[in-house]
Amino acid sequence: MTRSIASLLDALLGRMPIGWLQLSHSRGRLLAALAGVTFANILVFVQLGILGALNQSTISSYDMFDGDIMISSSDANTLTDGSNVARTRMFEALGVPGVKDATPLFIANLEWQREDGNASTLQTIAIDPEKTEFAAPEVTARLTDLRLQNRVFVDRRTRGLPADALENVSPSEPYVFELNGTTVWAVGTLDVGGGFAADGSLYASDQTFLTLFPNRSSSAPNHILLSVEDGIDPEVVVERLRDVLPADSVKVDRKAAMASADLTYQTTERPTGVIFGFGVIIGIIVGVVIVYQVLSTDVADHMSEYATFKAIGYPQKFFLGIVIEEAVILAVLGFIPGLLVSVGLYALMSNVTGLPMSMDVLRGASVLVGTILACSISGALATRKLAAADPADLF
């Protein structure tokens, strides 16, 4: 193994693979260094995984409804943190040329207290059950099943809910349960799963929503969804709406723009996002410190040998090459177990928390490239002393 890596590197580098020979010569140090890189990689992957889950759960809330344009309260940063929007805005919007249709959108969290003593928070989404074009794709065809009062679709991947609890639920075989003291009929299921703010989702008509939340009013939904007539640029309609609606109370944008603004807010201004973003930085620092420590010790330990090479006529870039060789070897060999362990941790965490966590190629590749860069920079720093000194002072 050691031999074949050596001859591979020899051919690749076109010189003796001194970095590898050095690293593999002191096994203990190599293993310690690899453990450090692996650990830093796991740290970064876990933080990125959580950040990714945060992003995905933010985005998936926006996938629960459709529409070209959203009208939200001007103080809203997320789907749920803003003031309500006056329904009169909807009627004003419907008068704007290019607007085809509109529905109020209600969103609120609801505690689902079950008979087995468990409870789950459901993010409840409600729209006008006649306006199928505003429904999530997975419920468009059956939205009208919600026309009757207190009919709902409930998330069968709700965190805390036994996996098979909502099997075979249908309009003819509804699952009947209590929510907030109201009896509801689940006439279908959703396949969403938990996020950061809620354990699962619930889909209802606007009328059912008002029953479940008696202190909410039909005249003040959370958002208003608009569709645009075919062949008209929604951006143009957004501009027209902004001209008509008062900017101090509502904001208007394309739905996708609202979602990405929410995402930016979650990751840069909310504590969770900031903390996990910070965790990524900590992971990188831990990795850099460990690798720098290893490489600078290694350079120091080989100072007299390097001085001899320098005396023989090897230029500075040769030593930089050795240390970068070591850095890349550490980065790659440390990355592999780091990736494998992280994939395992993702599965475990996703199982335990219900958060959507999965490894994707882009994330893996960026962490690998980042690790190689961080290791190489540490390596380059470690050779500084060698560059400055006369060979005679290093023996």
């Binding site: 020899d10 076109g14 010189r15 003796m16 001194i18 020979l21 050095q22 593999s24 010569h25 080989h302 007299s304 040998e305 001085a307 001899t308 090479f309 320098k310 005396a311 023989i312 006529g313 090897y314 230029p315 500075q316 006369d390 060979p391 005679a392 002072d393 023996f395």
Partner: protein, 240 residues
């Protein structure tokens, strides 16, 4: 400095030092280690630097060998001025030299043959197979045929020193600098090492400058220069 015509018949001097002064330390601790050393070394000769410990032998050797920046005075090495020489020129000059140090300084992670190959790879790597063969050949000249793939840790002191010699000699250097190369060796292998150096020098016209205290070696030298407190106090030539 006027040329000494008597020695010019064997080619230009590979090393000419003139008015060489050198200091160590800074501020209060600054101390002059070399005082006005002027010397010209003959091509193909074996010159020995001797003198008590701390007299400046190593310093002179490293200044001549381009291992230490010249502070004051001049060293002309293989026709190039070292005082103020840019790093690129120094690197190129070093490739024409061979060094053997008191501490062998073999790379502990490389085998004997790999260590010797490093003396060849510095000139580029045209044909690794041939370079390996040349390294093995150099080791066998020094009687290490059966130690080619040993790591330094598994070699005796004398064997390590011979590997270092093979590394210094393998690329046919113009000059070999050796700093107490026999200090770590027993009497027999010490004398052997110098005999080998002298023989290789004779065959290839290599100039050798060697620091040694070893009396047994003195008789093999063409010239013996004695240093005391950083000054040349004696310089005698002998015919071996």
């Amino acid at each position: 400095m006027p040329r000494d015509d008597r020695r010019n018949d064997i080619g230009p001097s590979p090393i000419v030092a003139q008015g060489l002064n050198h200091w160590f330390g800074t501020g209060e601790a600054r101390k002059q280690a070399i005082h006005d050393v002027t010397v010209e070394i003959d091509k193909g000769s074996l010159t020995i630097l001797m003198g008590p410990s701390g007299s400046g032998k190593t310093t002179v050797l490293t200044l001549m060998g381009c291992l230490r920046d010249v502070q004051e005075g001049s060293v002309t090495l293989l026709g190039s001025e070292l005082n103020g020489a840019p790093e690129v020129l120094q690197v190129l000059l070093r490739r024409r030299l061979g060094f053997i140090f008191q501490a062998h300084n073999l790379h502990g992670s490389l085998t004997a043959a790999q260590n010797v190959q490093m003396g060849l790879e510095v000139h580029g790597r045209a044909d690794p197979g041939r370079q390996r063969a040349a390294a093995v050949h150099a080791l066998s000249i020094l009687g290490l045929d059966d130690r080619v793939d040993y790591l330094p840790a598994n070699l005796s002191g004398g064997q390590k020193q011979r590997v270092a010699i093979a590394r210094a000699m393998v690329s046919n250097p113009d000059i070999v600098f050796a700093d107490e190369p026999t200090a770590a060796l027993d009497k027999v292998s010490g004398t052997n090492v110098v005999r080998i150096l002298k023989e290789l020098g004779r065959q290839r016209g290599t100039t050798t400058v060697m620091v040694t205290h070893d009396n047994r070696i003195l008789e093999m030298a063409d010239r013996i220069i004695t240093l005391e407190e950083g000054r040349i106090v004696d310089d005698k030539r002998q015919t071996a």
